[in-house]
């Protein structure tokens, strides 16, 4: 089994190596090879899963210690992996969804001459993500953490010839780096405090509490910073919208289903630390609540379907972070929502991809409309995903999201009410913007003229089977996953040993909450239908009131970054360059100049007249004599 663990990572890594170094020889086999290796790792994951299931609930863990990475004095970092229920869940999600998206990409990228690289990068991403979730210590986790960052950088900027893509990729990497500072500092802090940074070493309540709450809070906060970076949480969320520059499968896999959820994983994994640091937890829930509203609001304003979905992703992850911040009452549901979200959000993105595929990469929803009859499969799968995400009773989202809302209320006190309220409100907005997308895309009259009709746009058509199939699978997942997990709270019992769990007591009864959610959901849907279903959708975004405009501009947060960090930073850097040239180097050149000037002044003494030479000698003699006498006098 231990060797399987290594193999699980090795498979996609091998794929990446072969595809990226292989050169043109592997061009033809690239898509198949990449998908096959992804599938292989999924199979391996399944085998490991069954193996875990075979073990007693308490001892469900597999360790494999590959080699010592760095060893200096008492500092020892191993390349070692640890598989438990939590990481298992992620492995299945990553490899499963990953495989599907590989397959989807076979169709989606069929006409791109750089396919080979694309699949290479995708495999690289799988490997990095697996390292991230399987690492048994924070340093190795950091490796995976930056590895997925690299993969996301490469894939966002996959179409490098588009300056926008290149910029977006750079932005994503940089913002993530800011978060990485947090993770790095966390590792330093752990080592200086505990002398180790392995999960087994640190993650015991006793160990953490031994360091005192101050240290725990500090750790919690830096970890939260890291999570914010990777999971696009306020204030480090700005990169996710631009990340949509990447090919849509990438958005589905990396920027919806898996990588962006790494922050949730980190917090859940570090539960022991957060449990010991209420302050940090408070910070976490605040970030989560703010982001879930922020993302939702942005999602409402975007006309670019992918950006709208990105906003929704942000908001859904906000839910997860919120849940994770709630502590033992939330962890399980955070992960559960994470998984179900993985299904339906991936499905939604693939749907969007399928539409763009049909419409030659047109992303403006105002130029869609009435696609349901042109693309029935896409419509169906997308619709199911849609129902799932808005929490339509019985579908995945319903179960996972409700639990989170409950838990939020269960937090108790005003906090509980505020958080719960935010969560409920979020649910309503979700319903609104998702319905908006749905309506603008599939219903109403087509708001474009096909070439046949003398227009520019091509006739929309259903995507090939190789693309439809994954969408169907994901749709199935989005429908049933939630229910399957909740039945007899399987998921709870599965994860409990790792995350721990405690039932919270919500001041509001479950029934009432459910009802409220459903009502709000219906409200949102209704509003959206009223706005976009009933009346004609203008082909160009109307100039609307300032809150909408603000929302379109990501609530001004990008403008702020640009003004402060980009422009301000540039000005500062230029100033520094000036200082370097004029100040530091100037000082040096100043000394040189002084010597030169002194030289040309002194050489004037040598005026060529014997008598003045003689005079200087005479003066010198007098001086020397005087000095000698003076010396004796004193």
């Amino acid at each position: 089994m231990n060797s399987l663990l290594g193999l699980l990572i090795a498979a996609p890594l091998l794929g990446a190596a072969v595809l990226l170094l292989g050169g043109r020889f592997v061009d033809r086999v690239a898509p198949v090879l990449g998908s096959a290796l992804a599938g292989l790792s999924f199979v391996l994951g399944a085998i490991l899963f069954s193996n875990l299931l075979g073990k007693p609930a308490s001892g469900r863990a597999i360790d494999s210690d590959l080699f010592t990475w760095m060893h200096v004095g008492t500092f020892k970092a191993d390349a070692a992996f640890h598989l438990d229920q939590l990481s298992m869940t992620f492995v299945l999600l990553i490899t499963g969804v990953g495989t599907l998206i590989h397959i989807y990409s076979i169709g989606y990228m069929a006409h791109d001459e750089k396919r080979r690289k694309f699949f290479g990068y995708l495999n690289l991403f799988l490997a990095a993500m697996l390292i991230l979730v399987l690492a048994d210590n924070y340093l190795l986790l950091y490796v995976g953490w930056e590895g997925v960052g690299l993969a996301s950088y490469l894939l966002i900027g996959f179409w490098q010839h588009k300056p926008s893509a290149a910029t977006a990729a750079k932005k994503a990497f940089l913002v993530n780096r800011v978060g990485d500072i947090g993770l790095a500092v966390a590792v330093f802090l752990m080592f200086t405090t505990f002398g180790t940074f392995t999960f087994q070493g640190i993650l015991h309540p006793s160990v953490v509490s031994s360091a005192g709450q101050g240290k725990a809070t500090a750790l919690g906060l830096v970890l939260l910073l890291a999570a914010c970076g990777k999971s696009a949480q306020v204030p480090l969320q700005s990169w996710l919208g631009d990340a949509m520059e990447g090919p849509t499968p990438v958005s589905a896999l990396i920027h919806a289903a898996t990588m962006v959820t790494a922050g949730v994983y980190l917090i859940t994994r570090s539960s022991a630390i957060f449990n010991a640091a209420p302050t940090a937890q408070l910070a976490v829930v605040c970030v989560g609540a703010v982001t879930l509203l922020f993302g939702a609001i942005v999602g409402c304003a975007k006309d670019d379907i992918k950006k709208a979905l990105a906003g929704s992703t942000m908001s859904q992850i906000g839910y997860m972070i919120l849940a994770a911040g709630l502590g033992p009452i939330g962890y399980v549901f955070a992960i559960m929502h994470l998984v179900t979200h993985g299904f339906f959000k991936a499905g939604l993105f693939l749907g969007a991809g399928s539409i763009m595929h049909a419409r030659e990469d047109e992303v403006d929803m105002r130029k869609y409309g009435g696609l349901w009859k042109k693309m029935p499969w896409t419509f169906a799968t997308f619709g199911l995903g849609y129902l799932a995400i808005i929490g339509f009773p019985g579908l995945s989202g319903f179960f996972s999201k409700d639990k989170i809302i409950e838990a939020a209320f269960a937090k108790g006190g005003t906090e509980g009410w505020i958080l719960g309220g935010a969560a409920l409100l979020g649910a309503a907005i979700t319903a609104y913007y998702m319905s908006r997308i749905m309506v603008m895309t599939f219903f109403g009259k087509p708001r474009y003229t096909t070439k046949a009709e003398g227009g520019t746009s091509p006739e929309a058509h259903e995507s090939p089977a190789v693309m439809v199939a994954p969408m169907v699978v994901l749709a199935v997942g989005s429908v049933f996953a939630g229910g399957f997990f909740s039945l007899g709270s399987r998921f709870l019992h599965w994860l409990e040993p790792v995350t721990g769990h405690s039932e919270g007591h919500s001041p509001v009864s479950t029934g009432v909450l459910t009802a409220a959610t459903i009502v709000l959901m219906l409200l949102g849907m209704g509003l959206a239908w009223f706005q976009y279903g009933m009346r004609e959708v203008p082909a160009a975004a109307p100039r609307s009131i300032w809150p909408v405009r603000l929302a379109r501009r990501d609530l001004g947060q990008d403008d702020f970054n640009h003004a402060v960090f980009v422009r301000g930073g540039t000005r500062f850097a230029d100033g520094l360059a000036e200082f370097d040239a004029k100040g530091v180097d100037g000082a040096v050149r100043g000394v040189a100049g002084a010597v030169g000037g002194g030289s040309s002044r002194l050489r004037k003494l040598q005026n060529g007249y014997v008598r003045s030479y003689a005079f200087s000698m005479f003066g010198g003699a007098v001086l020397i004599v005087a000095a000698t006498l003076f010396m004796r006098a004193v």
């Binding site: 050489r603 004037k604 040598q606 005026n607 060529g608 007249y609 014997v610 008598r611 003689a614 005079f615 005479f618």
Partner: protein, 99 residues
Amino acid sequence: MNPVNYVYLAALLFTIGAAGVLIRRNAIVVFMCVELMLNACNLAFVTFARMHGGLDGQIVAFFTMVVAAAEVVVGLAIIVSVFRTRHSASVDDANLMKL
């Protein structure tokens, strides 16, 4: 009288000679001023010899005269040749090299 006065005289002569070197332009005169300084030295030597009641100072004086003579030979040779080239014996004209 007190021989120390001769020392003062010598010092005076020496100073006059030095001043001449610094002031006068004509190379010959400058050179003569140097000779004056040398003679001042001689006077000093002789005086001190007298005060010490030894002969060394007087002997030095003889040596000095010889040296002075030698200097005259060399000096005049140089000065004359320069004079013939430049038709001027002014030391201030000889300042092609400066700075």
